[in-house]
């Protein structure tokens, strides 16, 4: 135990002297947490719309003003020619085209029906999909408005369509940042916990100091714990700082129990530190370790449900998604921060995290060799 104390003393001394690593560990996550949630916003706003108005009637104008006043659309151009509008799309000046046919107003009143056409640029699938959906709902709304104006009340009552009202639970304003901030916090914790740990251990290999350590009577577990404990502490520190930012910068109320949140965080850190150790066992240089880490960060980001819902993944991808620890931890953090779930609601996620911690650390210890 005394030896472990001396090793820890040495590790902290080295960490303190490496100014760059202190900056990377503390400043970078905080900056990312302050910047990323604003960029990683999946709400679609400012869809540029080109309107081909072949009618020029009062109804057509009403429809256009309804669209532009909704807040989701920006009027990019207002022309008479569909060709002109497609050119706007080609030049990326517009994302979506709404074509209003000639005699739009007349047909609507006389024949009681009319069609409009929507054309969307699907290079950005999300923008095209959501833009079309927004536009559809605006047109539906407009339709209702006209019906109210023209149909006798009795008929209107009879044909009253289903009215929908929606409310967003746990995130009343359906603010995308409420969803993203906890997830980004989780990702940052992963980077600090796993990748900086592995870099640190590999550094000893690369500069050869591990050679000198290996001929001393220091035991495996002492050396490993000496490496993991400092990063455990730093990870917890980064996490706490991130929580403060979540609460006071983004104003996200942390509804759940803080103790439970830290319990999950600790379980996750243990697992992820084991993962870092595992990476370090398979790399000889810091460069190799960086590349392995980079590869896994990609998998973690895309498979964990950070941006996209895991529910819509194909079955095989769901298996992979369940196989990365970050998925379960992210679920737990979101549930705890936003929903205020109790431990009993989340015990299954805790079991996952315990299994990951055990398996990753076991693999790490098995693959760590003091002699080759």
């Amino acid at each position: 135990m005394r030896k472990l104390y001396y090793i820890l003393q040495k590790e902290f001394r080295q960490l303190k002297r490496d100014k760059m690593i202190v900056v990377i560990m503390l400043a970078v996550p905080i900056l990312q947490l302050l910047i990323l949630p604003w960029a990683a916003d999946m709400d679609v706003r400012h869809v540029k719309i080109a309107v081909v108005d072949n009618d020029q009637s009062s109804y057509a104008r009403q429809l256009i003003s309804k669209i532009t006043s909704s807040g989701n659309f920006e009027l990019a151009s207002h022309t008479f020619s569909y060709q002109q509008a497609t050119q706007d799309i080609e030049e990326d000046n517009a994302d979506i085209i709404l074509t209003i046919p000639p005699h739009f107003e007349r047909n609507l009143i006389r024949e009681n029906k009319q069609q409009v056409s929507i054309t969307a640029n699907a290079i950005n699938g999300i923008k095209a999909g959501l833009g079309t959906a927004y536009l559809n709902s605006i047109i539906r709304d407009f339709n209702m408005q006209i019906r109210v104006e023209w149909l006798p009340e009795a008929v209107l009552d009879k044909n009253l369509p289903i009215q929908t009202t929606s409310s967003a639970l746990f995130n009343p304003h359906a603010n995308y940042r409420f969803y993203m901030v906890p997830a980004i916090l989780v990702l940052l914790l992963t980077v600090v916990g796993a990748f900086l740990t592995s870099l640190n251990i590999v550094k000893e290999k690369e500069i050869g100091t591990i050679e000198q350590i290996n001929v001393t009577p220091i035991k495996k577990w002492e050396f490993i714990l000496g490496k993991l404990i400092p990063f455990w502490i730093i990870s917890l520190f980064v996490f706490s700082l991130g929580l403060l930012i979540t609460r006071f910068v983004y104003g996200i109320p942390i509804v759940g129990n803080i103790g439970t949140l830290y319990l999950f965080t600790n379980l996750y850190i243990i697992g992820i530190l084991g993962f870092g150790l595992l990476i370090s066992n398979f790399s000889q240089t810091q460069q190799q370790s960086m590349f392995i880490s980079f590869f896994f960060v990609m998998i973690f980001i895309l498979m964990s449900g950070l941006f996209t819902s895991t529910a819509s993944m194909p079955a095989w991808a769901k298996v992979i998604s369940n196989g990365v620890p970050i998925t379960h931890y992210m679920k737990a953090v979101r549930a705890l921060v936003l929903k205020g779930s109790s431990f009993m609601d989340l015990w299954q996620l805790a079991v996952y995290l315990v299994i990951f911690a055990l398996v990753l650390n076991m693999l790490a210890i098995l693959s760590y060799k003091k002699t080759s």
């Binding site: 005394r2 030896k3 001396y6 090793i7 040495k10 001394r13 080295q14 002297r17 490496d18 500069i207 050869g208 100091t209 591990i210 050679e211 000198q212 350590i213 290996n214 001929v215 001393t216 009577p217 220091i218 002699t371 080759s372």
Partner: protein, 302 residues
């Protein structure tokens, strides 16, 4: 009992493709200063890494202080000091912190064994607050030696302790090793410099993973049973070329400002041959073989 016993050790790398050691055997007695002499890539470092339990041999066995290097690696690690050829202390810790760290790892303190490192440490003590990475090559080696000694090891392994340091520091370092010997510490040191071999009690000449010869430096040079001449001329390049052409030359090579040559028959014949080749200012004298001459003779395959 010998302090170090190595018997028929074989070691290869990259799944047998590169042979590092071939049937290496040698013994080192207690309190002996034993030198491994050989060029780069001869397998010296592999021997050190095996004996310090960092590698496992393919076959053969070795014992350090009676402990098997594979089975009893834990005991060995408590009793030996190792100074790797490459500087492997913490560059971001100071001299004092490095020394303290390695002392505490062995459960001892600097004060307890200060007498062992005193002579060396005093030379670097003025810089003890300086980080190890900022030290000169010689100071690094001295610090590394201190760190390897601080737990009073019974056996000291020094892998090329003088490589990369200035000639004065080299002499000092060997003086220190002689002194440590008197403390009863067994020392195994390697060097690519033949002139340092004479400072050892016994040396093993090693090349391409094989031991060519093991003996005291005097005996090794004594075994040199051919006549050796040192020849100098105005044009050294022409001289070396002519020596190679002379049919009775056994072996010839540049040696400092002279060319060393082993020749059959009368040396006067060689002299007249050289003169006929148009080489002027020829100076021929008898010379005593050094370890380097022996090494070249042993490893020379015509």
């Amino acid at each position: 009992m010998n302090t170090i016993e190595v018997k028929d050790i074989n070691k290869s790398y990259e799944k047998g493709k590169v042979t590092a050691l071939k049937n290496v055997s040698f013994n080192v007695g207690k309190g002996e200063l034993f030198g491994l002499i050989g060029p780069d890539g001869a397998g010296k470092t592999t021997i050190f890494r095996l004996l310090t339990t960092l590698l496992i041999p393919d076959s053969g066995e070795a014992k350090v202080l009676g402990y098997d290097i594979v089975k009893d690696y834990k005991q060995i690690r408590n009793l030996v000091g190792y100074m790797p050829g490459k500087f492997s202390l913490y560059a971001d810790l100071t001299i004092e912190e490095n020394l303290n760290f390695f002392a505490t790892l062995f459960g001892t303190t600097i004060e307890e064994n200060y007498h062992l490192i005193k002579d060396i440490y005093e030379q670097i003590a003025p810089f003890k607050k300086r980080r190890a990475g900022k030290l000169s090559g010689g100071m690094k080696q001295k610090l590394a030696l201190c760190c390897a000694l601080i737990h009073k090891p019974e056996v000291l392994f020094l892998d090329e302790p003088t490589t990369g340091i200035d000639p004065v520091s080299r002499v000092e370092l060997w003086d220190m090793l002689q002194k440590l010997k008197t403390e009863g510490i067994t020392i195994l040191a390697s060097t690519p410099y033949m002139d340092e071999a004479v400072r050892c009690d016994r040396v093993a000449l090693i090349q391409e993973g094989e031991i060519l010869n093991i003996d005291t430096p005097d005996n090794i040079t004594g075994q040199f049973n051919k006549k050796l001449y040192a020849i100098k001329a105005g044009n050294m390049y022409a001289l070396l070329k002519a020596l190679k052409q002379y049919p009775e030359t056994d072996n010839s090579y540049a040696f400092g400002e002279y060319a060393h040559v082993i020749v059959n028959g009368d040396v006067e014949n060689l002299k007249s041959f050289l003169e006929k080749q148009g080489i002027s200012g020829i100076e021929v004298r008898n010379t005593l073989p050094t370890i380097e001459d022996t090494f070249i003779a042993e490893s020379y395959k015509p």
